[in-house]
Symmetry: C2
Subunit: 461 residues, 2 copies
């Protein structure tokens, strides 16, 4: 319980209209997109400028109140679930200003609550390009993207969120501003704390302003869909494209189970009889696009694609990509519970990983639809189940364990882009080492001695 | 003094042939490329495998001996100068194996002592590309490059060393292996310690193996030299190229003072009468190269270039770039002391920065030759002086202060790529904040309680 007098102190900082105390208001922030128990926060606070944000953090630290900063709550690993110990949720939707888009120097400065897709649109209006495109970009925030080091469809060619963070300033636990990185392309002044903040899941500081790198947009692009009657052929096609030294902008995979659900939901005209499809886009200079598209088509045909459809215009391309973006909501309609994994492997191991997922589905008698960013080895096997069925859910947990073991044995990782959060910390040591956990814990304890910055995430142990 | 018994313990770990105790052997590792007082280490130790490296670190920690890990000693900010408190230098030239070059998955795994240019050559033999090219690449090591987050000529388009570190494992202060990152394109398992290690200057851990990202090489390139009779016109041309949304692979600047010294040294045929030149290379698909080269030529002519020479073949290009690479040694011949700065500004501020450097040279009556990576705002004003002349050197120090103040007022940074080391820590707070220093110190103390990992670097202040 937060005392009435402490609540008043928060109200004095952000105004009573920005402190939410009622049960229904608080419950709305008790969960995110992960399959985990909700925890209702003790208080929800919404600062609307930097000064308020800094004061809120200091007040939390002085009163030993755990803070969970929340953007859009699209987190898939429980990173935005508040702490049981009188957790306070700090909303960033009042900190949603684009402060600068610098067209000459190719950077932008934003507050953490700016919505990703809106930011990308503003940048595009000025003839520039912000490449990171996480699946949830329509609602996700830049602050959340940085805290999770969000990936997306274009990660293969353009990298992930951390590759676009030139610098940021953030509040330490005392509400003091720490500044790292710069508006310059190169900066080695002090520790790369901007790098450390990416994927830190709100446990090491609270973002105030973020400097993002922009690039000129590609001049042309070409999108195509390849249809396969055998899932292995599709996954081999992925490996063969990368081996041919073409790095597409996107290279997405959907297996039959995913296809059927997505088509039922989107009516995009997907080939539901296919064993799998690949959605591929190459971009860049028009000459490069033509050459690379030709190489890709050759690889697809050689790998046994039964058909290759080239999108005839932007609208057709949009329809296909929109269908892919709807894979998760489409699958989520099928069963009460959707367990979405993102174990990731080196690209050449995609055939082995896809085969293993299918074996695991059979072994544990589970419905698994797989889609994802095949080009960067980041698949999303999605287990359709019902959490209330204890027996089935036990099999789900075993299957997830098994998926992680296979990914690690193929020199992959537990999580490509969804984060560790509360959902995966128990597997951390398996991928890294005890020394890695200890090193991380030492660092965290020094930076946040009262353990108030999103406790229980990443290295809950 | 290191005791004879402790020396014997080091010999037991790495063999007596890999422990250097004599005065001349130790003196060879007392300095690097910065203008700072040398400090002779108490002992020099050369591990030749991971196990030895881990044991050396643990032994140092147990005995409270400061470690300075040394690659090629090309550091320009004193990062490889040992500690006065019985400092031990750990050489990495016995840890120089390329462990894997994975052509299918576009990554490599190397030990820290691998020489940058040799690595890039091995990668090129397999038809792949490792872009980072620090000026010292012929002798510098990958471990040193990561520890400093080394830049180079291609930073503008291809980024810097940190952008190619997919993962690494490093020894903590107890000699235990910490693992971070992955062989996969995406990885968010735990804190981004790989990002934190970049630019950490040996103060947070000792690298064991480094996973580096590779890319397909550009299919074509075109190099040109533009000659200007006015330094302002050259710096305006830089800004106009970026504003035209062309991102060249390299965009280098040399003023007349630099040109004269470089031509005397290299006989490359540089136009010594010019006020400044730009060396520009665009690369990529042949169609893109042709288009971008045309835009660049237009920008150059419009900005008032008196001549634009396109390199007719690879040999001519090599000669020009080699001349640029020799700028530092060429300038260093002129006077006993060479103070090389790398204050960096947003690219559009290059004209203001170049003008300010020329004003500062006049104000303090100093010879300053300026060259550098104009395309990313990273200039290297080089003060030619004699440290033994106390009066002159006082003016040098004031000029450096002044250069930093101007860079910061233009929203730039103290150091683009040379690091903070011992040379610049006193300016850190000016660019960042007291909270940034405290945050960094807290982290460092928790990770290295005995302060044995390259003490006195970055945040000595």
């Amino acid at each position: 319980m937060i005392s009435a007098s402490l609540t008043k102190e928060f109200e004095a900082v952000v105004g009573s209209e920005n402190v939410f105390t009622s049960e229904p208001e608080r419950q709305a922030y008790s969960y995110d997109s992960a399959v985990l128990e909700p925890v209702t926060p003790a208080l929800v606070v919404r600062p609307t400028n930097s000064e308020e944000l800094g004061k809120v953090i200091a007040l939390c630290n002085e009163n030993n109140c755990p803070i969970t900063v929340r953007g859009a709550g699209t987190n898939l690993s429980g990173g935005t679930i508040p702490d049981k110990r009188d957790g306070i949720v700090v909303l960033t939707n009042g900190l949603n200003k684009i402060l600068e888009i610098n067209e000459e120097d190719l950077y932008a400065v934003v507050q953490p609550g700016v919505v990703t897709a809106q930011f990308a649109q503003e940048v595009a209006k000025r003839g520039l390009f912000y490449p990171p495109d996480p699946g949830s970009q329509a609602v996700s925030t830049i602050g959340g993207n940085v805290a999770e080091n969000a990936g997306g469809l274009r990660g293969l060619k353009y990298g992930v969120t951390k590759d676009y963070v030139m610098g940021l300033d953030f509040f330490d636990v005392n509400g003091q501003l720490v500044k790292t990185g710069s508006r310059t392309v190169k900066c080695v002044t002090g520790y790369n704390l901007a790098g450390l903040m990416a994927a830190s899941e709100g446990t090491l500081g609270v973002f105030n302003e973020i400097i993002l790198k922009l690039t000129p947009p590609p001049a042309a692009s070409k999108a195509m869909m390849a249809v396969f009657d055998d899932v292995n052929k599709a996954s081999e096609a992925v490996a063969s494209i990368i081996s041919a030294h073409v790095v597409p902008c996107t290279l997405e995979f959907m297996d039959q189970a995913a296809l059927k659900h997505v088509e039922a939901y989107t009516k995009a005209g997907l080939p539901v009889e296919a064993a799998a499809i690949l959605l591929i886009e190459v971009d860049g200079h028009p000459g490069q696009v033509a050459d690379e598209a030709a190489v890709v088509e050759k690889c697809l045909t050689k790998s046994g694609a039964t058909a290759v459809h080239v999108a005839k215009d932007a609208e057709e391309k949009f329809k296909l990509w929109e269908a892919r973006r709807n894979a998760l909501p489409a699958l989520a309609r099928a069963k009460p519970t959707t367990v979405l994994e993102d174990a990731t492997v080196p690209r050449s191991q995609i055939p082995a990983m896809v085969a293993a997922i299918n074996d695991i589905a059979k072994k544990y008698d589970l419905a698994i639809g797989t889609f994802g960013h095949a080009g960067d080895g980041n698949l999303h096997p999605t287990i359709l189940c019902d959490r209330r069925d204890a027996k089935e859910f036990h099999r789900v947990e075993e299957a997830v364990d098994n998926i992680f073991d296979v990914a690690l044995s193929l020199k992959g990782t537990l999580s490509g882009e969804h984060g560790i959060g509360m959902a995966k910390s128990k597997w951390m040591e398996k991928e890294t080492s005890r020394a890695t956990i200890d090193y991380s814990l030492n660092m965290k304890r020094a930076i946040d001695p009262n353990n108030i910055l999103n406790p229980g995430k990443i290295i809950a142990g």
